[in-house]
Structures are given as structure tokens and as C-alpha cells.
């Protein structure tokens, strides 16, 4: 266990930015997963996807607690009172839930990234992050088994399921590049050993997902596009309505002390 370390003001600011980005990804993805609860293809999968959604929300909570330690901000205030411009999730997670192939494939791509990022973050020199990573990575490994299994079965199942899975990949693949785009000044924290190097995570991610998608599942990788060029402050048209719904109850009683 590393002794408590002192962060410079710039490091603190960058870490706050990164933790918020990590949490935003989880909040928005969990929201999309939560839309399935009660509407999945079979009862057992209602249960499975609800498990994933709870885990992702739990991770968001842990990241925002780390942020609270740094700047005193309230996690729920952040989640329910920031506007679209303030959210810093990747565009991958805000796309509408689509069909089961789209949901499972997106979750697979994200789980693989998150599992590998967390695995690397276990070596962080920032002890609070190390602890969170060790906890969260256990759940991500389980998600990854579940979603990898589903992607394989949908890709190899029927002509229809193959077509739907390939369509989902065509749509999702260009959005994945953004997962590996650092936030402003992130490289400083990487040098200090506080955060994992995203290029390294990306290498491991590609080595994991590309053979699974192409060799095992028989899917075709679309050509990567320049979709990653814009940063985390740029969103699709889908985030604003999502937030309007998600924040509607909290904002109706803005002075509530407790919910």
C-alpha cells in the first residue's frame, strides 16, 4: 500500500477531470442498460443486464467519491445537475440502446476496455485509485465473460443475428477510438504513475477484442474513422434527451436535502 501522496494543484485538477470522465461513462452506460430492465429477451437476461447496470453505477459512485476527497464535490449534484455541456462521457455510451446485439456488443467493447484499464490501474501510485480498481476489476471480468459469450452466440447464431451484430459493429466501432483519448494533461499523471498509459491499454484491448470479433465470431471490422477527433465535451444529439429524463425528478425539487 502506497503512503498517502501529495498531488500538485495541476495534478489534482487533472485527476478530478479524469475521475469525472470515468464516472460519466459509467453513469450514461448504466442508464442505457437500465432501460432494458423489464424488457429483455428472456427473464434470465433481465437479471443479467440489471447486474451489469448496478455494477457500473457502483463504479461511478466510487470514482465520484474519489473526486469528493479531492474537491469536496457532491456525486449526486454532479450527476443530476450538470447540463449536457458539463458531461464528459464518451459518445459510445450515449447512443440509444438499439437492439440486443447493439447493447451486448457495446457492453462487450466497453467491458474489455474497462477491465484492462482497471487491471492496469491496480498498479497506480495513488492508493485510493488502486483500491477502487482492485474492487471494480473483479466485476468487470465477470461482465466480460458474459458479454463475450453473447457476442459470439449472436454473431454465429442465425443469419439475422449475424446481420444485426455486424450492423452493430459497423456503427459502434468508430466510436471506440475515443475510449483511448486522454483528457487534458493526462500524460502528466501517467508519468507520475497515477494513471495507466492509454496507449498500452489500447494495445491490450485490440489484442483481446480484434481476434474475438474477427476469428472467433466471424465479424468484419469496419475501417476506423475520424470519429474520435472531437473531445469529451462534444456529444451526439442523444445525450440531451437522456439527461432531461434522468434529471427530471431531482431537478423538480432542487432544494431537497434527501432523496
Amino acid at each position: 500500500m502506497t503512503a498517502a501522496m501529495t498531488l500538485t494543484p495541476n495534478q489534482t485538477e487533472t485527476l478530478v477531470r479524469k475521475l469525472t470522465a470515468l464516472a460519466d461513462d459509467e453513469i450514461i452506460l448504466a442508464h442505457r442498460d437500465g432501460e432494458w430492465t423489464g424488457h429483455a429477451p428472456i427473464l434470465e437476461e433481465d437479471i443479467a443486464l440489471a447486474n451489469i447496470a448496478q455494477d457500473e453505477l457502483g463504479h461511478a459512485g466510487m470514482y465520484l467519491e474519489l473526486r469528493r476527497e479531492l474537491d469536496g464535490s457532491d456525486p449526486d449534484r454532479l450527476a443530476f445537475f450538470r447540463d449536457v455541456d458539463g458531461f464528459t462521457n464518451v459518445r459510445l455510451v450515449e447512443l440509444p440502446k438499439g437492439d440486443w446485439a447493439f447493447t451486448m456488443l457495446r457492453q462487450y467493447l466497453f467491458d474489455a476496455y474497462e477491465a484492462l484499464w482497471l487491471d492496469a490501474a491496480r498498479a497506480s501510485t495513488y492508493a485510493p485509485l488502486t483500491e477502487v480498481a482492485a474492487k471494480a476489476v473483479r466485476e468487470e471480468k465477470f461482465h466480460l465473460q458474459h458479454t463475450a459469450l453473447w457476442v459470439e452466440r449472436l454473431a454465429l447464431g442465425t443469419d439475422e443475428s449475424h446481420r444485426r451484430t455486424q450492423n452493430a459493429l459497423n456503427e459502434l466501432w468508430p466510436y471506440t477510438a475515443q475510449l483511448f483519448q486522454p483528457v487534458q494533461d493526462e500524460e502528466g499523471l501517467v508519468e507520475a504513475g497515477i494513471l495507466p498509459d492509454l496507449a498500452g491499454v489500447r494495445g491490450r484491448w485490440e489484442a483481446l477484442v480484434v481476434p474475438h470479433l474477427t476469428q472467433k465470431c466471424g465479424l468484419m471490422l469496419p475501417a476506423a474513422s475520424a470519429a474520435a477527433a472531437a473531445g469529451r465535451d462534444t456529444h451526439t444529439e442523444h445525450l440531451a434527451p437522456l439527461l432531461a429524463e434522468m434529471q427530471s425528478v431531482a431537478r423538480a425539487v432542487p432544494n431537497a436535502e434527501v432523496w
Partner: protein, 213 residues
């Protein structure tokens, strides 16, 4: 195997055997519907490990399990000749008429020439059992017992304390507490209120007036 006339849209059923702690017997806790062996095991985890009470899971396709009660064997002795593969068979027993949280406990294995033979041996070894249940080792799908699997399949449920009623502690007043303190409200709705404030006109005012003589 021929396809059933009316294919079930719900996939095959797999019996789930759960072990709650090391050295405890595996117990038949229910079943899941799943497509194939790997999927069945993942599904069993999602369904039966929402809360912490497992260290290991097995799933076995329903079609691979043979069960019989003494009455059933008497009525249909041919069940003891049920053909199938030779090898190691797991044996489960029901031993009580009382309420139990399992249908059977798994008690061990035996070598048999087929499911019927396994049942025959089970009956000889455990004549007092109320139900015998057998399935071949080859039909079992089980979780790995390496630390990584235990950590990612079974440990996380322990942290999900919000699913435990204890997480909520004592909320408001419980009726028992009100009684003990002699503070049980005796009359209701003299004046519609929330806390100390009248915030709502009584919803049944109209009805109340009607029923009054």
C-alpha cells in the same frame, strides 16, 4: 433427439446446484433457462448469487438428470434399466418430509453402467431416502475454484449491501416499538396533515359526508 412439436421459446432448463460454503453439500436450489453449458453457468450466477451465499455452482441439463421416489420405482421398475452412458454418477438424496431449502443434497458419486444402474445402486445404498437423483459427471458444468473466479463470481455480492434489509436499519417507528411505548395512535385523520402541516384536503371528504347519516 427429435425436436418437440411445439418448441419452447424459453430454452432448455438446467438444474442449479449451489454450495454455500466450503465443505458444505451442493444443494438443488432451482433452475435456469439457458442456451448452452457456458451460458447456463453464467446465468446461474446472475440468478442465484444476487446476494452473498455461494462459493461454487454446478449446472446440469434437466434432460441429463434421472430422479425417482420409492413409490415410482415400485410402480415402474423399468426406470432401473434406463439406458445411458457408463461412468461416474453424482447422487443426490432427499431425506426429510420437513420443510427444507433444498430438494436434494448431493452426497457423493458412484460408478455405474448407466443412469438406471446408478439409480439401482443409490436405492441399495440408501434404502431410506425419499427421493434419489442421479446424473453423470460428464453432464456437469461447474465454476472453477481458482481465486480469480471466486473473486469475480462470488465475492462482489458481499459489497452490495444495499440489497440487504440491515442496510436500512431502523426507519421511522415500528409498530412494536409504538406499542411498547404506549404511543400507538388511537384515532386517525382528525385533521389531514403531513407532519405538523395541513397540506392536503382529505381525499375522502366527499365519501365521508355521504356515509354519515
Amino acid at each position: 433427439m427429435t425436436a418437440p412439436a411445439h418448441p419452447d421459446t424459453q430454452w432448455p432448463r438446467w438444474e442449479v446446484f449451489k454450495q454455500d460454503a466450503p465443505n458444505r453439500p451442493y444443494q438443488a436450489v432451482g433452475s435456469v433457462h439457458a442456451g448452452d453449458p457456458d451460458h447456463a453457468l453464467l446465468t446461474a450466477r446472475n440468478v442465484f448469487v444476487r446476494r452473498p451465499a455461494a462459493v461454487s455452482l454446478w449446472t446440469v441439463r434437466e434432460a441429463d438428470i434421472l430422479t425417482a421416489t420409492p413409490e415410482e420405482v415400485e410402480a415402474n421398475p423399468a426406470v432401473l434399466d434406463t439406458p445411458g452412458e457408463a461412468g461416474t454418477y453424482h447422487l443426490g438424496l432427499k431425506r426429510t418430509h420437513k420443510r427444507s431449502m433444498t430438494f436434494v443434497d448431493l452426497v457423493g458419486t458412484l460408478e455405474a453402467s448407466g443412469p438406471g444402474d446408478a439409480l439401482r445402486q443409490a436405492r441399495e445404498q440408501h434404502p431410506d431416502a425419499l427421493t434419489w437423483l442421479v446424473f453423470p459427471e460428464s453432464a456437469v458444468v461447474r465454476t472453477d475454484d481458482d481465486p480469480g473466479t471466486v473473486e469475480s463470481w462470488f465475492a462482489p455480492a458481499k459489497d452490495k449491501t444495499y440489497k440487504q434489509q440491515q442496510y436500512y436499519g431502523v426507519i421511522g417507528r415500528h409498530v412494536g416499538e409504538l406499542k411498547r411505548e404506549g404511543r400507538m395512535p388511537q384515532r386517525v385523520n382528525e385533521e389531514p396533515h403531513v407532519g405538523d402541516h395541513k397540506v392536503y384536503d382529505h381525499p375522502h371528504d366527499a365519501v365521508a359526508k355521504k356515509v354519515q347519516p
